[in-house]
Symmetry: C2
Subunit: 388 residues, 2 copies
């Protein structure tokens, strides 16, 4: 990292610091650091703002990030978008979310994201964006900033998402896979702050994982590392949207759970699910969670069975990767303790004892915000490291 990048990251993560402290904290010779600071003040990245608390002797000046810095963080899901505007320290300035249909295609979706951003600008949440980070629900070439053969994003293959957004908003843009972005968020400000080798598992409409090795995202040869949703858990299992049969996602995840809950309701195996089906006309994973919480045995059974399948795949991954921690996130993480207990039970029983002896398996601490926190961090790194 360049010296400006290190100064800006330190101020982002620690808050304001005195001019006198900075050379020690960064182990950079004092004259060189002070010259860089002057350049950063002139560029509008940092402010010198009043005297720092005295450490004895002459009072030093406090250095802080320019309060006008603004990042946009976008987490695009299968059917919705979450967005935040943050300041330079990644504190939320404004947030919004809305339903969004990816199948409308990249032009329409990115236009709509632009409209939403302009709404936030018109409300005074920013004047100009310093960088934008976005997570997409599919494989992404991080280097090129484009989705690559994304299964649930018909029409998006190799669309220049990064360059389109950069042109539209006049700032650096970073594009990554949504699960990677959530893993980055959880490592930066969630459950995995001190973790070297993180396995972040997203259980939402689909199932995927984000892998960090030595604290950095591992993307694999083609950028699709972490795909666990299409691991075959049973050769004779149901047909999956991907065309194979018996994939993990064909058994569990939002879509599979809604399907199985509907079947349970229609077969008379759950009075609670049947009532909801009559009232609403359709069931979602949320209904299963609510009924399970209310003691419905069939719903608890569905969650337990799904957790067992997820645990079965994770047991293999844990033996292979030997992670320092597993964090479970995504929409279905809200199914709570029954799901977590089942996953833990299978992984602890089936993986190599050496790999599970010190392995915490925990729920995401950031919940639905994991994606936007990660996207904001990616944006800030793109901004602070620009020109390196």
């Amino acid at each position: 990292m360049s010296i400006p990048h290190r100064v800006l990251s330190l101020l982002r993560d620690n808050g304001p610091l005195s001019r006198a402290e900075l050379p020690d904290r960064l182990e950079v010779p004092r004259p060189r650091l002070l010259a860089e600071l002057d350049r950063m003040v002139a560029a509008g990245r940092v402010l010198e703002a009043g005297p720092a608390a005295s450490r004895g002797g002459r009072r030093s000046t406090l250095v802080r990030l320019d309060p006008g810095l603004r990042f946009a963080a976008v987490d695009l899901g299968a059917s919705s978008v979450e967005m935040e505007i943050t300041d330079g320290s990644l504190t939320t300035v404004a947030a919004l979310s809305e339903e969004m249909d990816l199948l409308a295609g990249p032009v329409a979706v990115l236009d709509r994201i632009g409209e939403l951003l302009r709404t936030l600008r018109d409300k005074g949440h920013y004047e100009r964006l310093d960088a934008l980070g976005i997570g997409l629900p599919g494989p992404v070439s991080f280097r090129e900033g484009v989705p690559v053969s994304p299964p649930i994003m018909a029409g998006w293959n190799r669309f220049p998402v990064r360059d389109t957004l950069a042109r539209a908003h006049g700032c650096p843009v970073v594009v990554d896979n949504d699960v990677n972005v959530m893993a980055i968020g959880e490592k930066y400000a969630g459950a995995a702050r001190t973790v070297d080798h993180l396995l972040f598992v997203k259980i939402g409409s689909g199932i995927g994982s984000g892998v960090q090795v030595h604290g950095r995202i591992y993307r694999g040869a083609e950028g699709c590392a972490g795909d666990i949703g299409h691991v075959q858990v049973d050769a004779g299992g149901p047909v999956c949207a991907c065309g194979n049969s018996g994939c993990l996602e064909a058994y569990f995840g939002g879509a599979a759970l809604a399907r199985d809950a509907t079947a349970a309701a229609l077969a008379g195996r759950s009075e609670q699910l049947a009532v909801r089906l009559r009232e609403q006309g359709a069931l979602t994973a949320l209904d299963v969670g609510a009924c399970a919480a209310a003691g419905d045995a069939a719903s608890v059974g569905l969650i337990r069975e799904g957790g067992r399948r997820v645990g079965q795949v994770l047991a293999t991954v844990v033996s292979f990767m030997n992670p320092s921690m597993i964090v479970i996130g995504g929409g279905l993480a809200g199914l709570g303790h029954v799901l977590l207990a089942e996953i833990r039970s299978v992984v602890y029983k089936r993986s190599l004892p050496l790999a599970t002896g010190n392995l915490p398996i925990v729920m995401s601490a950031l919940g639905p915000r994991a994606g936007v926190v990660g996207a904001a961090l990616l944006a800030s790194d793109a901004c602070y490291g620009a020109g390196e």
Copy 2:
């Protein structure tokens, strides 16, 4: 890497170079490099040996590794040891192998390794060792140089292998897991030279894998990354030596293959295997390979079935890791094309298309030497980087 480490590695990998070339090759200022070179000559690491080929102008001096440098490379298997003495460029000076019973315990085994090394010294293959690298068939704490809960090495848990060997031979010692060492060898001088993300799969008595990420071994949180032998491929499968049931190793690998071949011979399903069983009193995986090569359908069937199980586990690992290449090594890699074809067929069919589109699956190029080549490289790095 320090400048001496970079100079020595460059001479190891490229052979002798002229004094004039070195500063450019390493992008180090000329005066600084020449001063380091003088120190390395004085320390007996490199020699200046005659004039280099003229590049026009004044002739430069040729710089080469000291021809007296010697490394010991040891590959300790479940039932045998392979050993090489190499020079500073990792060229083999002497090699030997013998049967060895790990269950004799670490003191007896390391003593015997010492005796074998002294035999090689007495024959004039070295005067003193500059470093020693050793691979052990079990999980290893690389940092501490000790085996950790190794399943097939009763009595070795946390025995100070590195420190014991360093004291006995008066040189730096590096200890690693045998499959990691084979992966390192294959990356340095085998099939995977240009590969970033390597999955090396060893199929021998047991089954394991070595993982390289960005060209470096990935060990995981507890040093046991790559364990694929105890992944459950069928909950109702045979009981494994580890105590669980249906592990990959319980289905395939040297021990399982010998068991299934014996059953086939006794049940009258293979005349060729039955003849060998009568003649030898017992069957090994080598018999299955020989009978398969001679057209025995039952033997081909056993190899194909084993390859299918290995492929099943690798399909999951490939989707998760998205490696750049898979290299198959170990004793059973000699089963050849039938095994490779079956593994390829399952992986290409079951893994994410994006992960397999550019994925070569090949046999080890170094064969049984992969381990000693990797151990020699580890030794040379320990020697050349000493003091960093």
